[in-house]
Each structure stands twice: as C-alpha cells, then as structure tokens.
C-alpha cells in the first residue's frame, strides 16, 4: 500500500470537504468540460469507433484469459533483446527490486517518466527512504512534486491547480529542487512551460538512471511502449545509462497488430488527439543507442486476485485514458484526492478496492462513490462496464464489512415488507394518515438526516396509488363510466403536489 495515501478519510467525508472548495470546483469543471467536449469531437470523427472499441475489449479479454502465456512470452523476448525481467508480487517487492537496481549503479538520483504503476507502489517515497531522489519530469507531475501534493487525475495529475497557482508554486519551490524559476515568471502557459523546460533539462543531462512505467508491452517482441505528450518521457528513455520500467502485468498485448487498435483508442479517448505526439518503443538494449542496461519489473500487486473475480476483472482492461474521469459528475465535484488513491474517478472506484482489497474504510467506501449514471461506461474505449463492477463490489462490501451489519438488517426488514403486499399497503396507509405530522425541513436522524440536511422531504399523498386503484378502478369499466379525471373524492388533489 502506498504510504502517501495512508490516513485518508473515506470518500464521503473527503468529498464533502472538496465540494466546498469553490476554486477547486471551478478548476475541475473548466478542465473536465474542456477535455470531454474535445474528446467527443475526436471520437465522432471515426466511423468505426464502436468496432474499434469492441476490438479493444476483445483483445484485452483474450489476453487476460491467457495472461500467463503472454507474460512468459514477454519475458523470453525481453531477455533475448538484452533486457532483464524481474517479477514483483507486491509493492514492497517491486520497490526493493528497483532500489537494489539503483543502488547497484552507485547513483543517488533518478529521473522519472510519468508512471501510474510507480505511484501505485509509492516508489518515490521508497527510494527517498534509501537516500535516492526521484525527479518527476512530466510537467504536471513536476507541479505535484514541487507542491508536495498528490496527483488528482490519471492523465492530468495537476488538474486541480490553475495557472496562477502553478506560477506561485514554481517561483516558490523550483529553487529548492534545482534551477529556480525566474522572479518575473508570469502565468502564461508558454512561460510556465519554458521555466519547467530549463529546470528539467539539468536533470535530464545529469541523470544516469531513469524509471518509467509503460502503456503497453508487446509480447511477441518484448517491446515496451510509452505514450506521452511532452517529449520529456523520451528524454528519460534515451539519455540515461540504466532504464528501469515498472509495468503492471495487465499491460501486455500479444502482437503489434493488437497494439495498432490501442494506439487509435488511447489518444482520442484521453487527450482528444488523432495521433499521439510521442510514442516511444524499445526492446531491450541496442548498441550505441539509448540505455546500456534495461530492467523490466513486472508488477502483480493485486492483479492476479482481481483476475480471479469474473465480474471485477474487466477493470484490468483499463488503458488509463481517463475519459471516465472527465465525464464523471462525481469526480468533477469531489476532485481526485477524495478517492485516496493514485487511481481516482470511476475507474479508481473499481480498480483501487480490487488491487488493495476491501478491508480499509476508504477502500470499502469507493464502490459507493458513484450515482451509477453510466456516463463512464459510455465513454470507456475498452467498454468496461464500470456501473456493473461498482454494484458487484458493493455486494462484496455489504457482505464483508462489519459496518454494514445495521444496513443488512434494515434491508432484510424492507424486503420482508415489500414481499408482503398487504403489510406494504398498510404501511403506505399509515404514512398517508400521519402525513400532517411529517416534517419537511426538520433535521432528522440517520439516513433521513442525510436527506433532510439540504433537501425537503417528499410530501406524502393522501392515498397511495394502490388505494386509489382499489377504490376507483378495480370495478367493471361500466361502473366507473363518467368518472371524472383525477381528484374525485375522497382523495382531494390539493396537498398532493410535490
């Protein structure tokens, strides 16, 4: 478990805080709406998007079914290309492997390409504990690192910050890490990018070791693929002498032909680009070009357990495009930090509790961090039915978590009532009889309180539908001929308005 996220509050509590942060809300709404609109336009350009999406889903499903085979094929190919493969069962093992590899080089610093896998395992913190400094080179990751902050989006880790905040941060913090930002720095994007470029260039030219993740692993040739937009990743992949790639085992695709599908699905879904700006691919080491040593750390960390769940395993199809975050109304209001994980948003709500397990309160709260509106499923380029997995995981939480004992009892009572129509009708009648006594705006205890804090309670009608039907309709058609519209006595219409 990543120590950076320890002690986080559960999703409802964290989200209640971020909902009140008006600047955060404004930043997120602006950013997510911009990306989602662009994405919709980029996807609409392609006639066969639905078929591409189906192909992406099918390739991933087939690969996951035979994952052992493709991973062994990858290992053979990487080794044949002069690389070395390491298998890591969990975060601790992966961190230890990487730390040992860095220590063996004698270096005390590494440059990093943006990598979700190393965030997942908390590699930067683990390296720091070994006296090794890890420098993030992705612009947004740099912003997060300078601010001693946590990423809040898969693709745009600093989405919660606006330009003014970033300018202030650069001026204040860059000097502590290396080349300082000029005092005259403005919040123009080109100025901010130039300051970051000069700051990072020092790191690129000095570093002997780089750490990357990967978007894909092509099993047939052992090729690692990194897809990025800034070119900073390519610097990390080309200049250092030693390259260590930490890659989740689900990233493998069998062939280059399979890769073709994902290189179409990913850029349009994530950045709304037709083609990705920097797509770097390498296999092992090459004489006179790039790193002299290449290590591939294959990371399990809960993935095999996820694969064993027939409904939940579809989360492993994820290609980390973040389209689901950008359309999610819950993410937009709660912000990425509320999910207590490097994987926020709808995909995080199903991936994190599967990778980490449902034991902690934070992880048990994540499957409920959704209104099940389905927008995430609609945009997912590999058709992960996120609402289906959310409901499935809720079932596991409801059965496993101690905190749900009272809820289970309440649900059982409700089901009994609903399975006995006479008792149900009597309960509705009791509700109707006491309607005058029912408050609309009082602060009520329990679940009703969560409703009534900000919303009026619904007004009870004078009679349920079934009582009206019994009194007025369950008679032969002739007998009610001439009956007026709604509202015939004894059920007056007044007072039944919402």
């Amino acid at each position: 478990m990543n120590t950076a996220y320890l002690g986080m509050p559960t999703f409802p509590r964290a989200a209640a805080g971020s909902v009140r942060d008006t600047r955060l809300r404004a930043n997120l709404t602006h950013a997510t709406h911009t990306i989602r609109d662009k994405r919709a336009a980029a996807v609409a350009e392609i006639d066969d998007w639905a078929r591409l999406r189906q192909a992406g889903k099918d390739i991933k499903d087939r690969t996951l079914r035979h994952l052992d085979h493709y991973l062994l094929q990858t290992e053979r190919a990487v080794t044949a290309a002069g690389g070395q493969v390491h298998w890591a069962a969990d975060a601790d093992e992966a961190n230890r492997i990487v730390a040992d590899l860095v220590r063996a080089t004698g270096e005390r610093e590494v440059v990093k390409v943006k990598s979700m896998a190393t965030q997942e395992i908390g590699l930067n913190e683990a390296l720091a504990a070994e006296g090794v400094a890890a420098y993030e080179t992705d612009l947004a990751e740099l912003i997060v690192q300078l601010g001693e902050d946590l990423p809040s989006h898969i693709l745009v880790p600093a989405i919660h910050r606006n330009r003014g905040e970033i300018r202030d941060l650069f001026r204040e913090a860059m000097g502590r890490w290396g080349r300082p930002a000029p005092d005259t720095l403005t919040d123009r994007p080109s100025d901010l990018a130039e300051a970051a470029r000069l700051h990072l260039r020092e790191k690129f030219l000095r570093a002997k070791v780089a750490v990357s993740g990967a978007n894909f692993l092509v099993a047939e040739t052992g090729t690692v693929v990194v897809v990025e937009s800034e070119g900073n990743g390519r610097m990390c992949l080309t200049l250092p002498e030693t390259l260590i790639s930490v890659v989740g085992i689900e990233k493998v695709v069998p062939t280059w032909q399979d890769l073709e599908v994902f290189l179409q699905l990913l850029p349009r879904s994530s950045t709304a680009e037709r083609m990705n700006p920097y797509t770097s691919m390498w296999a092992g080491v090459a004489e006179g070009d790039g790193p002299r040593a290449f290590h591939l750390v294959l990371l399990d960390n809960g993935r095999t357990a996820t694969l064993a769940d027939q409904v939940g395993r579809q989360a492993l199809r994820c290609i980390r495009c973040s389209a689901c975050l950008n359309v999610c109304p819950v993410y937009e209001r709660a912000g990425g930090h509320a999910y207590g994980s490097p994987y926020p948003g709808p995909i995080g709500a199903i991936l994190t509790p599967q990778l980490r397990g449902l034991q902690s309160d934070v992880d048990a709260s994540l499957p409920y961090a959704s209104s099940l509106c389905g927008a995430c499923y609609e945009v997912c380029p590999v058709a992960i039915d996120i609402p289906e997995v959310l409901v499935h995981l809720r079932e596991r939480v409801a059965e496993e978590a101690a905190g749900h004992r009272r809820e289970r009892a309440g649900v059982r009572a409700a089901t009994w009532l609903l399975d006995h129509p006479a008792a149900y009708a009597a309960a509705l009648r009791a509700g109707a009889r006491t309607r005058r006594l029912q408050p609309e705006r009082l602060r009520l205890p329990g679940a009703a309180g969560s409703w009534s804090a900000s919303r009026d309670l619904p007004r009870m009608p004078a009679a349920s539908f079934r009582d009206w039907w019994r009194a007025h309709r369950a008679r032969p058609r002739d007998a009610r001929h001439g009956e007026g519209g709604p509202g015939a006595p004894p059920f007056r219409e007044g007072g039944e308005a919402r």
């Binding site: 999703f11 409802p12 989200a15 209640a16 909902v19 009140r20 027939q310 109304p329 819950v330 209001r333 709660a334 499957p367 409920y368 209104s371 099940l372 509106c373 389905g374 927008a375 499923y377 289906e388 409901v391 809720r394 079932e395 596991r396 409801a398 059965e399 749900h404 809820e407 289970r408 649900v411 059982r412 409700a414 089901t415 609903l418 399975d419 129509p421 149900y424 509700g431 609309e440 679940a447 969560s450 409703w451 804090a453 900000s454 919303r455 619904p458 009870m460 009608p461 349920s464 539908f465 079934r466 009206w468 039907w469 309709r473 369950a474 709604p486 219409e493 039944e496 308005a497 919402r498």
Partner: protein, 253 residues
C-alpha cells in the same frame, strides 16, 4: 392486448398522481390497463446498494405479478432498467452459484414485455401526438437510466413537442446526472446535493416554469432542493403532462 401498469414503489407511495396520469393517458389511447396488486418494488434499491440476494424475492414477486400480460408499462426508466439489466444478471449469478435456473427463467419471461412509458407509446402504440394540452414552458431532464441504459433517445422529446400549448426549452447539460442515484443521495450527500443544485440552476437558467422528467425518484431529489430554496420551477412527471387535455376540467398540475 393485456397491459399491466407497473406503477413502481416510489410512484405508488409518494406520487400516485403519476400512476393515475398513466392510466388516464393509456385509456384515452384505447388501451385497457390493469393494475396487479401483487406488485410492490422491483428490488433496485437493494440490488444497487449491494444486497443482491435480498432483491431476489422481489424479482420473483415482480415476475409473478406480471405473468400473463402482453405488455408491462412503467413510468420510470430507472425501474425498467433494473428489470432489463439487473434481472438477467441476478439470474445469471444465481445459476453460477449453483442455485438453478428458476430466477433466470423468471427474468427471461418478464424482460421482453416490460416497457418504459415513452417506449410503449412510441414503439408499441406508434403515437407521438397523444392529444395532450399543456400551456407552459417546459425543460426536460432525461434521467440517466432512461437515457443511457434504455437508450430512450428523443422519444420523450418527440412526445413533448407534440403537446399543444407547450414550449419546449433545451436544458443545458441535460445529459448530466441529477445526483439522485438511489442510496447515493444519502451515502454521499454532499456530492449528491452539489450535483442536484447544478441541475436546478440549469433548469432555472432556461426560464421554464416546469422541469419535466420521466423518473419521479430523480424529480423527488430535485424537488427537495427546489422547495428548500423556493426556486420558481415546478418538477412534473412527463406522464402528467401527456395526460392533460383541453377538455379536462382544469389543466394538470
């Protein structure tokens, strides 16, 4: 044609006017409607909160209550989505758990006959002009389950456009969730309310006097917010607009 009204528990208990409107509307269109009193709730609240096994008796009850009808019509996209999406999944899971095919068979028998109201009007009856009159400005919120799970498309809008006297105004951000989400409304109150307030703000920005929807559960959440802030817009179920005619003694509420 034997048609049963699947009124849904929210309408039965809190919004009987919507059920009455469906009856009135369908009878005006020549459909004889029955209401099997053995129906209660589809089990969606249990299922979506993670209590799948607790929802199973309600699947059995719902399927049995509507056996023998050609069509089952519900004024709720959410409950129809539960039947169409959730029931087969519950059946499959029961089978996978070695508990036989009975649940799957009950689901399979019910699913093809259940229609959301606008599906029934447009696809089965083949009407878009139902002879309604509603002299108001209206904006329409398409609830998520109707929009995405059922794919209702423009059926509700086509029905509304044919209503005499009605001015339809497009709702900004219409396809965004209102934040109800069943138990989400209480389990994640803060986010739910933030989403609902944005929806209400969008509705108010249209200047429409009526916020129309086809799911009273979503409208209940929005109405709770609207009444708390005394906002000048009235939530109203689509069926109640479609049921009203000029010949009525008074326009529908």
């Amino acid at each position: 044609m034997r048609v049963a009204l699947f009124v849904t528990c929210v309408n039965d208990a809190l919004y009987p006017e919507t059920g009455r409107a469906v009856v009135r509307l369908l009878e005006r269109l020549g459909v004889e409607v029955d209401f099997p009193a053995a129906q209660t709730c589809c089990g969606q609240p249990q299922y979506n909160t993670g209590h799948r096994r607790a929802a199973e008796p309600l699947l059995r009850r719902t399927a049995a209550a509507f056996a023998g009808y050609d069509h089952v019509v519900a004024p709720s996209g959410s409950c129809v989505a539960m039947v169409r999406d959730g029931y087969p999944r519950m059946g499959d899971r029961a089978r996978a758990e070695g508990r036989g095919d009975a649940l799957a068979a009950a689901a399979a028998a019910l699913v093809p006959r259940v229609r959301e109201l606008t599906e029934f009007l447009v696809d089965v009856l083949g009407v878009t002009d139902v002879g309604a009159y509603y002299p108001h400005t209206v904006t329409y919120h398409p609830s998520c389950h109707g929009l995405r799970t059922l794919g209702l498309g423009d059926r509700p809008l086509r029905l509304l456009r044919a209503v005499r006297g009605l001015t339809l105004i497009e709702l900004p951000g219409a396809e965004e969730c209102c934040g109800f989400g069943g138990t989400f409304a209480v389990k994640n109150e803060a986010v739910s309310v933030a989403m609902g307030r944005d929806k209400v703000d969008h509705a108010l920005a249209t200047g429409a006097d009526t916020l129309c929807g086809a799911d009273n559960s979503c409208l209940m959440h929005l109405d709770g917010l609207i009444r708390r802030q005394d906002a000048p817009v009235r939530p109203l179920h689509l069926a109640e607009i479609l049921a009203g005619t000029k010949a009525d003694r008074r326009p529908p509420r």
